[in-house]
């Protein structure tokens, strides 16, 4: 996927002015947050389950080589094919090769963030294939030629009236006078449009929420059933996923599934939780004839060895962005790449480098709500701060910020100078502000004063007053 993370500031400003987007974000902020809170309250052992989940992920990542070997053995034993992809380009090429081998023309696709990460649709379409997203949200944004703005709810930025307009624009063969005012009618129409495509598809591609070493299975959790139709009706099923999705056993998967659904949508379990183990066996009634897993690294092994390794525990529930006041203000597109919100602020610089993505870990008040709700206990503010350190070391800070910070530190390290200077400046500022006691504008502080008044100091500093009291023998 092409990044616009480099123009984060402009993206954010546009997003803040976009009234439609702001309306959608208002609804989102409330819905997901309240649903998760209810689900958590209804399950007394939720926090304990999260801790178990964290332990499972930490353990698996620590022994990833071992579990990958076991997984591959089980996958092959069940008749599946494993393709290891070092880079995004490798993964795209491997998938295209499978499509070519099968003379495929129509590809149906379930929702997959890894597919977004590698830019799969563009790659396949450039090769002349027709790729059809079957998740409703993904279907909508594909019609609109937009990237997802949320990892769980990709079209959360789109209003129902916009979807109606898109459907009328694209589904030209349907009667113009049909009633699409009800969201249920939109779902019904998308469903009808997709039915025959599922059956005609040559290949179905899905992602995976988990890969189970014990059984060689892949797991998807969905609410629409499109993933199941994608992977069981086409003759070939390709799973595109990444190495961090591995878990040791079925039991471990069950723990994580319980945590994932509650954290993401506040459901105790998603409508469908589907396990795929190899292709159709002779006694099976349905299922694909071939089952391929394309397993992407794309820098994750390197990340595993570095200081951002805990971010690999992420199970892509989206709770961090749902609760993030910055995401709630600007939405997902402003972040400019596949993964938005706090987890995106940590992951994107790993994938794209700081030159492109430095704004993302900086554009956070570090309020800590993401860490609080992360079921995998990822210390997102600490990781954002680590990126800031790298940014600072690389000389990336804007000159004004860097120089004022340096000046502040120089003075702060010299208490007598500090008190001398502040002892003069603060009363001066207080006098300057006069009886209004605030500034509507102040040079070098326009970032503050453009939108709010700057409270003026009371007058003398605490230290001056304290010393004065001491001198006067009042202490």
């Amino acid at each position: 996927m092409k990044s616009t993370a480099g123009s984060f500031k402009e993206n954010a400003q546009d997003a803040l002015k976009n009234q439609r987007l702001q309306k959608s974000l208002k609804v989102l902020g409330r819905g997901f947050v309240e649903k998760r809170a209810k689900a958590r309250a209804a399950l007394p052992e939720f926090d304990e389950l999260c801790q178990q989940g964290q332990a499972i992920k930490t353990h698996t990542l620590k022994h990833l080589d071992l579990y990958l070997e076991v997984y591959e053995k089980q996958l092959v034993a069940s008749g599946g094919h494993l393709h290891l992809a070092h880079t995004a380009a490798d993964a795209c090429e491997q998938i295209l090769q499978i499509c070519r081998d099968k003379n495929a023309r129509l590809i149906t696709k379930g929702k997959s963030m890894v597919a977004e990460e590698i830019g799969l649709n563009d790659h396949l379409e450039e090769a002349g294939l027709r790729v059809l997203e079957t998740d409703l949200g993904e279907y909508i944004i594909q019609l609109r030629n937009e990237p997802p703005s949320h990892i769980v709810a990709p079209a959360v930025h789109v209003g129902a009236d916009q979807v109606e307009a898109d459907f009328r624009r694209v589904h030209k063969e349907l009667p113009a006078g049909r009633d699409l005012s009800d969201p249920a009618a939109l779902v019904f129409e998308a469903r009808n449009m997709l039915r025959s495509e599922f059956i005609n598809a040559d290949i179905g591609i899905t992602g995976a929420n988990f890969l189970i070493a014990q059984t060689g299975s892949s797991v998807i959790v969905t609410n629409e059933g499109n993933g199941d139709l994608t992977q069981s009706l086409a003759p070939v099923h390709i799973v595109i996923t990444s190495i961090d999705k591995l878990v040791p056993t079925l039991n471990d998967t069950s723990t994580l599934v319980r945590v994932l659904a509650r954290s993401a949508t506040g459901q105790s379990i998603t409508t469908y939780t589907t396990f795929s183990t190899g292709p159709r066996r002779s006694q099976d009634l349905d299922g694909p004839q071939e089952y391929h897993v394309v397993l992407l690294d794309n820098g994750r092994t390197e990340q595993l060895a570095g200081e951002f390794s805990e971010a690999l525990r992420c199970i892509r529930c989206g709770a961090c962005m749902n609760h993030c006041p910055v995401y709630q203000s600007i939405g997902g597109h402003a972040y400019g790449w596949v993964y938005p919100g706090p987890i995106g602020a940590v992951l994107t610089p790993s994938f794209l480098g700081l030159d492109e993505a430095a704004d993302l870990p900086n554009a956070s008040s570090l309020c800590g709500r993401c860490e609080q709700v992360c079921p995998m206990g990822i210390k997102l503010p600490d990781l954002m701060r680590k990126w800031r350190e790298k940014h600072h070391q690389g000389g990336g800070l804007p000159v004004l910020v860097r120089s004022s910070l340096t000046a502040w530190v120089i003075v702060a390290k010299r208490p007598r100078l500090y008190q001398f200077m502040t002892g003069i400046v603060m009363p001066l500022l207080a006098k300057l502000a006069g009886c209004k006691r605030n500034f509507r504008w102040l040079p070098l502080a326009t970032g503050w004063t453009n939108s709010r008044d700057l409270p003026a100091p009371s007058g003398k500093t605490f230290m001056s007053l304290l010393k004065k009291h001491q001198r006067e023998g009042r202490l």
């Binding site: 954010a12 006041p325 203000s329 956070s364 008040s365 570090l366 350190e389 800070l397 939108s451 304290l466």
Partner: protein
């Protein structure tokens, strides 16, 4: 103000020796909060000292990625404060920096052990009064309706939530009305608010809408940064809501005009 601090020079044997970490924003912008904190600590039976060499905890440098500068400032703070029994700050953000971030900041240096034992002594003001001093009520009155903003660092790093409410609710006549979406950040975030002013403005606008909706005369909180941000926005919007640090009301020291505001018609009555 003398009556508030005159026990400073009268060391009282056996009392817990508390160093006030006044914080740079209180020092520079609102000294009354520092004096109010001293008064509350003394009333709670502490012997209060104010190390005169304090400046800044280093958080702006730490959050801007200047680890080395932050480390140097952290070591200075530890050196100046570690000889006391407790270190108390009228700020969850600064106390959080001293308590939770100094050990992280110094973990790869020979100062780590020192940072750990120092961290044990550090408390935010209201949590120190309630959790450590066992204070359950303050014998004062305040006639008025207030709302309270939980600043993020105090709330999530130090679990400060019930303590200020317990003390406020003990004031005779005070009525506390909770903010909707009260655990959301106000958009201050230190340098964040000037580095990304438009996003910060969107956040503080939402917060101020909730403050107005709480329909109170006064907004209180435990952190000057957040309070200045919200007060600045309320003032720009022409709101008549007074913004003050919680220590001012608890200590009965609300004579100072409110943050960013003129001394208007008295909002709430201190008894």
């Amino acid at each position: 103000m003398a009556e508030n601090i005159n026990s400073l020079h009268v060391p009282q044997v056996g009392l817990p020796r508390v160093a006030l970490y006044v914080t740079c924003l209180v020092d520079l912008f609102r000294p009354v909060v520092g004096f109010a904190a001293m008064k509350l600590l003394q009333e709670a039976g502490c012997e209060v000292s104010v190390p005169l060499t304090q400046t800044c905890c280093g958080q702006p440098a730490y959050n801007s990625g200047d680890r080395q500068a932050a480390q140097e400032l952290a070591i200075e703070v530890i050196k100046n404060f570690e000889s006391f029994d407790y270190v108390v700050a009228p700020s969850g953000s600064c106390a959080g920096m001293l308590k939770t971030h100094y050990p992280e900041l110094l973990k790869d240096t020979d100062q780590y052990e020192r940072a750990i034992s120092f961290a044990d002594k550090v408390f935010e003001l209201t949590s120190f009064l309630v959790d450590k001093c066992g204070l359950q009520s303050v014998d004062r009155g305040f006639a008025g309706r207030i709302t309270y903003h939980d600043a993020c660092a105090g709330l999530r790093e130090l679990n400060v939530k019930q303590q200020p409410r317990a003390l406020l609710n003990s004031l005779r006549g005070l009525e506390l009305s909770e903010l909707s979406d009260g655990e959301a950040c106000c958009g201050f975030g230190g340098m964040f608010c000037v580095k990304y002013p438009e996003i910060s403005d969107a956040m503080v606008s939402k917060k101020c809408a909730n403050i107005e909706a709480a329909n109170t005369q006064m907004l209180l909180g435990g952190d000057m940064g957040c309070l200045m941000n919200m007060a600045g926005k309320l003032s720009r919007d022409g709101s008549s809501i007074e913004v003050r640090h919680v220590a001012e009301i608890l200590a009965g020291m609300s004579d100072e005009p409110p943050i960013a505001g003129m001394k208007g018609p008295k909002q709430g009555k201190q008894k």
